[in-house]
């Protein structure tokens, strides 16, 4: 644990979290004016070269424009075919290894003894001063304790209780959609549905739910972390605002519990009844880390699969026909959407010792990136991987949730949300036509959409 984090834990009972975050921000601004701060890359978009014009060692898949410029498939195919374990020594995020084949990714993901998830799972580092502590970026045994304390919020048993509520909220959103006129699917459906879901999981004030989406978007979008566009002033302001609201929520929940109210199935209530986490509010960076993980985990991922599914069915219209003829394919299609979209491109590790992999020697301390987006298109494991097939055999065998101890905790919630969305959509609409190319976010981590105009045709 860092000195700053320890200091924050000691002062947490007397100084509110959002004041602490602001104080760190002010301190760093002064420090970095006086001394040179850590390097923060800047990204200006220009067309990326075609991959076949590059020498293999010059291929850099860390570009935040690779997905947006639709170059990712050709870049990763070349790496898979010619150099599946690839070293890029000069990226804006420092040197790193890319693991691009399915089997190699499973190997790295499974071997937490060889590859550490600490201190963070993105290609770049978190902004200086915001090194939050979260179990996705912890190794066993601490990871296991923390995950167990919160995983019940999205465990299948809890979801069974919540299915009715999720369906009701989905219906509310879909019933208000305009028919026969263009609208932005991302804003109106994908973001709205995930915001409602997050507010439900946290029992967060419903009218403030869009703050959750904003905090989540900002937290993964700094240049030094993922090549995004949000500067550190904005991130600090968002972190302070989030800290203030989350701490208040914690104390509100504690007061309700003390007043004898029955504990809910929301995240904070679950934390407050667990021995490991019941005092977490006194450890601000850990508390913020866990909440950030939950909102990021439930935001970018499902949101972009909600958009990606509509896009895929437009690019493969025969599959839409097949779906309407046989809605029983929805659960299988949900897995196929999650594979096809792969909303998070990768997870990062650090080698804990020298490791031989596919003919290369990864040195202790090297950064290793498991490109799920590439493994999910690996011809060696997946038949016609670029084709979207709603009745694909073995559709569940995708990498998007990761494998091993860090496997996505919210996978069943994601599948449930997407299944309900498509069940309800098919009951209402005959077509969801994508009117123009969607706009993609700038990131090497989140494969997401910021806008996608569509038009609905009502069911006859």
């Amino acid at each position: 644990m860092s000195l700053k984090s320890t200091a924050m834990n000691i002062t947490a009972p007397v100084i509110p979290a959002h004041w602490q975050i602001r104080a760190v921000h002010r301190f760093l601004k002064i420090k970095n004016t006086l001394f040179k701060g850590p390097y923060v890359p800047t990204f200006v978009e220009s067309p990326l070269p075609e991959v076949d014009t590059l020498a293999i060692e010059d291929i850099d898949v860390s570009s935040p424009f690779l997905f947006r410029q639709k170059k990712w498939q050709s870049y990763f195919k070349r790496l898979r075919d010619e150099c599946p374990v690839h070293y890029q020594k000069n990226s804006p995020f420092g040197p790193f290894w890319s693991i691009t084949r399915y089997d190699d990714i499973v190997f790295v993901d499974k071997h937490h003894d060889l590859f550490s998830a600490e201190p963070i799972i993105t290609l770049g580092r978190t902004p200086e001063g915001l090194e939050i502590e979260t179990f996705i970026a912890m190794d066993p045994p601490k990871h296991d304790e923390q995950r167990k304390a919160v995983q019940n919020v999205v465990a299948p048993k809890n979801l069974k209780e919540m299915e009715g509520l999720i369906r009701q909220r989905t219906r509310e959103v879909l019933d208000e959609l305009p028919v026969g006129q263009p609208f932005d699917w991302v804003k109106t459906v994908s973001i709205e549905l995930t915001a409602r879901m997050l507010a439900t999981l946290l029992d967060f004030p419903y009218e403030l739910r869009h703050k959750l989406v904003y905090w989540s978007d900002v937290s993964t979008a700094s240049p030094e972390t993922t090549g995004g566009r949000v500067d550190s002033d904005e991130i600090f302001a968002a972190a302070a605002d989030a800290g203030k609201h989350f701490v208040k929520l914690w104390h509100d929940k504690a007061a309700q519990k003390a007043a004898g109210q029955e504990a809910g199935f929301d995240l904070i209530s679950l934390m407050q009844v667990n021995e490991e986490t019941k005092d977490m509010v006194k450890r601000p960076m850990e508390f913020m880390g866990n909440l950030t993980l939950l909102i990021v985990g439930g935001n970018d991922t499902t949101r972009n699969s909600m958009t990606g599914g509509v896009l895929a069915l437009n690019q493969f219209p025969d599959e839409f026909t097949k779906l309407k003829e046989n809605p029983a394919l929805i659960p299988n299609m949900v897995s196929e959407i999650i594979r096809w979209q792969t909303p998070l491109a990768y997870m990062r590790r650090i080698a804990k010792q020298d490791v031989e992999l596919n003919g290369k020697t990864i040195k202790k301390g090297d950064k290793v990136v498991m490109w799920y987006a590439s493994g999910n298109r690996d011809e060696r494991n997946i038949d016609q991987p670029d084709t979207f097939m709603i009745d694909r055999k073995g559709a569940r065998n995708h990498l998007s949730f990761g494998f091993g101890v860090h496997r996505c905790m919210g996978n069943r919630l994601a599948e449930l949300q997407l299944r309900i969305l498509w069940e309800e959509l098919l009951q209402r609409f005959d077509d969801i036509e994508v009117l123009s190319e969607p706009e993609c976010v700038q990131s090497n981590f989140v494969r997401g959409y910021s806008k996608m105009m569509v038009q609905l045709t009502a069911k006859k």
Binding site: K148, G394, G404, V405
Partner: protein
């Protein structure tokens, strides 16, 4: 014929033939038994082929590796005789084995 019995959470029983050398997960998948997802295809990396072995059979299914133990540790439905079916190798010696499926796979 040597067989194993897989009992779904709801109580539905499936008696399936043992194919020696295959994993119990593969046998369940080949026979389309509902309730075994096998998302990682047998790599002991997802925990979605969780079965609860009847106590008299538990020792005969082999030992649980550290890796399997860690994956099982992630499911709240873990019981004393939990195993991942992909880590149980089927053989004639398992003739008569009975396993229960949990309510949910993780």
């Amino acid at each position: 014929m040597a067989s194993v019995t897989i009992i779904e959470f709801g109580g539905t029983e499936h008696e399936v033939e043992i194919e020696a050398g295959k994993s119990l997960m593969q046998i369940a998948v080949d026979n389309s038994i509902p309730g075994i997802d096998a998302d990682c295809g047998g790599a002991c990396a997802c925990g979605t082929c969780h079965v609860i072995v009847s106590s008299e059979w538990f020792a005969k299914t082999g030992s649980t590796s550290d890796e399997e133990d860690m994956m099982l540790g992630m499911t709240p439905e873990r019981a004393d005789t939990s195993r991942l079916a992909c880590q149980i190798e089927a053989s004639e010696a398992l003739d008569g084995l009975v396993v229960q499926l949990p309510e949910f796979q993780m």
